[in-house]
């Protein structure tokens, strides 16, 4: 049984190695998707089901 208070982390200080990641293919892909597709339903259940089920353990 544990009742310790939860410590919350706020260590978001940037490191130099982070900078190139901002141009990353994966991140830019997601930015484009959110901008272009989210409003038209990229989270659509059918689309998602077709590719990867929601619960996998």
């Amino acid at each position: 049984m544990r009742n310790e208070p939860i410590s919350l982390f706020h260590d978001a200080a940037a490191s130099a190695r982070d900078l190139p990641l901002t141009d990353s293919v994966a991140l830019q892909r997601l930015i484009a998707e959110v901008r272009q597709c989210d409003a038209s339903g990229i989270a659509d259940t059918t689309l998602y089901n077709r590719t990867y089920h929601r619960h996998n353990r």
Partner: protein, 382 residues
């Protein structure tokens, strides 16, 4: 799939436990090694009669709710059915649930040979394989009943799928359970090399009373740091596959929507059907304690409709439980991303589920990194 304010409850994902036993004996398995022995009371496999009732009930529910849902053949190891029985099950399910309903299988991959792959192709069954990374990492925990690592068999199974042009599109992804003592860059490279279009990663199960493997205290960030390393590998990759957990969290950070349980604040209608036809809650609740995945009332597909179950107060309670109740969560600026994590990971004996996830510190560590990257990346976006 509904937002919290929406009272409409629909089936979203059905886990069909077609086999209660497994050909592997992974030491961390939440089914067999987390203190719940309910699997011993189940038949080894679902019968054709129960499957027939499942198909009829699901077809009725599909007609009622109109929205498509996903059925996942699960276990134990679902491929223990063998090719002939698998064919009967898939044929019956596909007949009851035409496209766009999804039929999937979550398998350990060791039995993925041509006869079962033929069946999966015939009925358009999406395949997800559990594999933890390179052989040394995988074989540490994913072992057979005599303790021997399963990597070679699993990898061969995946290669049997990817070698076939007709089966390759069915491989939705590979799923790894995190060993926080492993090198995340090495795990990323090994998973990507398998050739699946998507990867997913899961933390080891645990709660506030039984800490997850490798986590030394609730406030430490072993998993957060491992995930940060995995994120670095992913974002540095010039030809990245999809990484479902990270994509989902990043989408939310960027102002989009999530599509996976345990992330964000969208609710999902997930039910489990046991081999004897009993209907249970999300089986991951076993992590909180024996029987935590059971409804107070014992429903069965043999006697009860899904409409009746979805409309019950017990289901409403279970559905609401997805939203975290802890005051710390409601005051947290990251709630919209983390969503309180998996319900099972919030458990403590003294407070029930009224806690943040045991991975709270890890989640906040990772989200802080994602927010920082997103803020820097948005000006670069085309």
């Amino acid at each position: 799939m509904t937002k919290p304010e929406d009272d409409a409850r629909q089936l979203d994902t059905v886990l069909l436990k077609v086999a209660s036993r497994c050909n592997l004996d992974c030491s961390y398995c939440y089914v067999y090694h987390m203190g719940d022995s309910a699997w011993r009371d189940q038949p080894k496999q679902m019968s054709d009669a129960v499957l027939d009732a499942v198909a009829r009930r699901l077809a009725d529910q599909y007609a009622l709710q109109a929205a498509p849902f996903s059925v996942v053949l699960h276990g134990g190891e679902p491929l223990l059915l063998g090719a002939a029985k698998l064919e009967r099950f898939c044929a019956r399910l596909r007949d009851a649930l035409p496209h766009p309903c999804g039929i999937h299988i979550q398998t350990n991959g060791a039995l993925l040979g041509d006869p079962v792959i033929d069946v999966l192709v015939r009925y358009d069954v999406g395949i997800s394989v559990s594999i933890d990374g390179p052989q040394r990492v995988h074989d540490r925990f994913r072992v057979g009943h005599r303790g021997k690592g399963s990597y070679s068999r699993v990898r061969a199974g995946i290669e049997n799928v990817t070698a076939r042009a007709d089966a390759r599109p069915l491989l939705a992804g590979v799923l790894a359970v995190i060993d926080p003592e492993s090198d995340p860059a090495e795990v990323y490279a090994a998973l990507k090399a398998l050739g699946a279009p998507g990867l997913d990663i899961l933390p080891r199960d645990g709660n506030w009373d039984t800490l997850p493997f490798g986590k030394s205290a609730p406030g430490t960030t072993e998993y957060g740091q491992w995930l940060e390393g995995f994120l670095d590998s992913y974002l540095s990759d010039p030809e990245p596959p999809r990484v479902r957990l990270l994509d989902d969290m990043l989408r939310l950070v960027l102002g989009g929507r999530s599509i996976k349980e345990g992330v964000g604040t969208t609710d999902y209608g997930i039910l489990v059907i046991e081999p004897d036809g009993t209907v249970d809650k999300n089986d991951t609740l076993k992590v909180a304690g024996a029987g935590e995945d059971r409804f107070g009332e014992r429903w069965s597909v043999l006697t009860d409709s899904f409409d009746q179950i979805l409309d019950s107060p017990a289901f409403a309670d279970y559905y609401r439980q997805q939203r975290p109740s802890a005051a710390a969560c409601h005051a947290c600026p990251d709630l919209g991303i983390c969503g309180g994590g998996m319900v099972a990971h919030r458990w403590s004996q003294t407070r029930g589920y009224d806690n943040p996830t045991i991975f709270c510190a890890d989640q906040r560590h990772l989200i802080a990194k994602m927010r920082q990257l997103a803020e820097a990346a948005l000006p670069h976006a085309a």
